[in-house]
Symmetry: C2
Subunit: 244 residues, 2 copies
DNA sequence: ATTCCAGATATGTGATCACAAATTGCTGCC
DNA sequence: GGCAGCAATTTGTGATCACATATCTGGAAT
């Protein structure tokens, strides 16, 4: 796909520029914790890994920079954003405010169809938790929450929430598979589902709040002691690791 | 500035790419209501108006697209985002949640230096209100709120809040200079200042909430009746108006 | 052996070109 | 006079080139 073929002849079926594809690919990767905090990247390296020219990557990175996922240092070097402890607390508080709002609204707009879907996503989450499959759990977790918040029918707020998810994504590579956390998290998830089934807005908000606080505690325990965690995540010097 | 001068020889004093300058320029313009909702723009037109090549404009627009200020239609046409009534309510609710959080935190972190600064910004706001200077009022209003939220020392949350401001910016071109609204708004602002001076977090949150609800009511009164407002804001067909 | 400097490479940024799709404008026909 | 259809222009997107600066590599001097 490196050759200068003018365009794959997809005429109009996909209103989906290459920059958009790169954007979603990188965004999903960040949320799923496939990039380490502080990791250095290069436009050309990413372009080569994705089989495109640097141009779409540049535009995608600009969008992700606007969302705070990546940053260009003072010397115009590209790296994955590394959240500090206080910043992580800010994200936590903002998430509680916004996701609590969405959960409460979702509870009042649930229908029978949503009940079945949420239950199904919850079960999938349970499977990943039982298997201690952390990447799978992370992915299923985002899907679970996103589906709930979509029911709230507030896409703009959901967009802001997803921006916060992008910020905390890289932090997850620092946490080890912690059975205790998984169990507590699943407890909160069960209470979220219960509240939604009973159309109980305040209870849904409370359960979501607990879930977020639980995750934040788990993260801050690692973030606040930078020595050990950093040395694992950013091994001395890495030459252009991309792999997307 | 259209000539191909390689670069103005500013070596390192300004770590500020042309794309960043364009970005801030456009962002400020959107927040200040210099773009009408639904207004069509072109990359080349903006570039010419700003005296640069299309490239920095492209990157700046990508960032602003990520923030929701502009959108590329299904036919890849660029336009200013037009918020619907429900979307406007979503922004309102999210602002109440986030800005309430910031106001409460700001109240607990105020110092004497902040007192003087906030008072000064409030006075400037009062001057614009008395003169019925709507653009000046809008500008001073954002500065006033931003300064308060900076005191909260939560830059990530402030960034999210500013994203919401960018979204509602274009709506302000639809509201006429409304003396009643200005008076009510200034009343809320006075209560914000009072609460901050007394380091009263809950009162600050309540006052900020009133301010936001007040502004939202003012906007929704115009947005919800699309006929008249639209015809004023988007006169039939406008050929490539840029003027930055 | 360590340090420091110069050449070489890598990298972000801006400009320009090419191209496909869409919009526009004009012309002719009914 | 109104409207359909075709040509010309516009416009977003991707690719490539140029350039300034940062970063890296290698070796020489102490």
């Amino acid at each position: 796909m490196k050759d200068t073929k003018p365009l794959p002849p997809l005429p109009s079926v996909a209103r989906d520029s290459m920059a958009d594809q790169v954007y979603r690919h990188l965004r999903d990767g960040v949320m799923a914790g496939r990039f380490a905090p502080g990791q250095r990247l290069t436009i050309r390296g990413l372009a080569e890994a994705l089989g495109s020219s640097p141009m779409p990557v540049r535009e995608a990175l600009r969008r992700l920079q606007a969302e705070g996922a990546f940053e260009f240092s003072d010397t115009a070097r590209l790296s994955v954003v590394q959240l500090s402890g206080p910043q992580l607390r800010d994200v936590r508080d903002a998430r509680v405010a916004l996701e609590g709002l969405l959960a409460e609204r979702a509870a009042s707009r649930m229908t029978g169809v949503d009940d079945a879907e949420i239950t199904q996503l919850y079960d999938r989450l349970q499977v990943a938790a039982d298997a201690l499959d952390v990447p799978g759990y992370l992915s299923a977790n985002f899907v679970f929450h996103r589906r709930i918040y979509e029911i709230a029918q507030a896409p703009i707020i959901l967009g802001a929430v997803e921006n916060f998810w992008v910020l905390i994504g890289p932090c997850f590579v620092l946490v080890a598979p912690d059975a205790t956390h998984l169990r507590r998290s699943m407890d909160a998830h069960r209470r979220i589902v219960d509240a939604l089934m009973h159309r109980d807005g305040p209870a849904a908000r409370a359960a979501v709040t607990d879930d977020i606080m639980q995750a934040a505690n788990c993260l801050s325990r690692v973030i606040d002691k930078p020595e050990k965690a950093r040395s694992v995540a950013a091994p001395k010097r890495r030459r252009r690791d991309v792999s997307a």
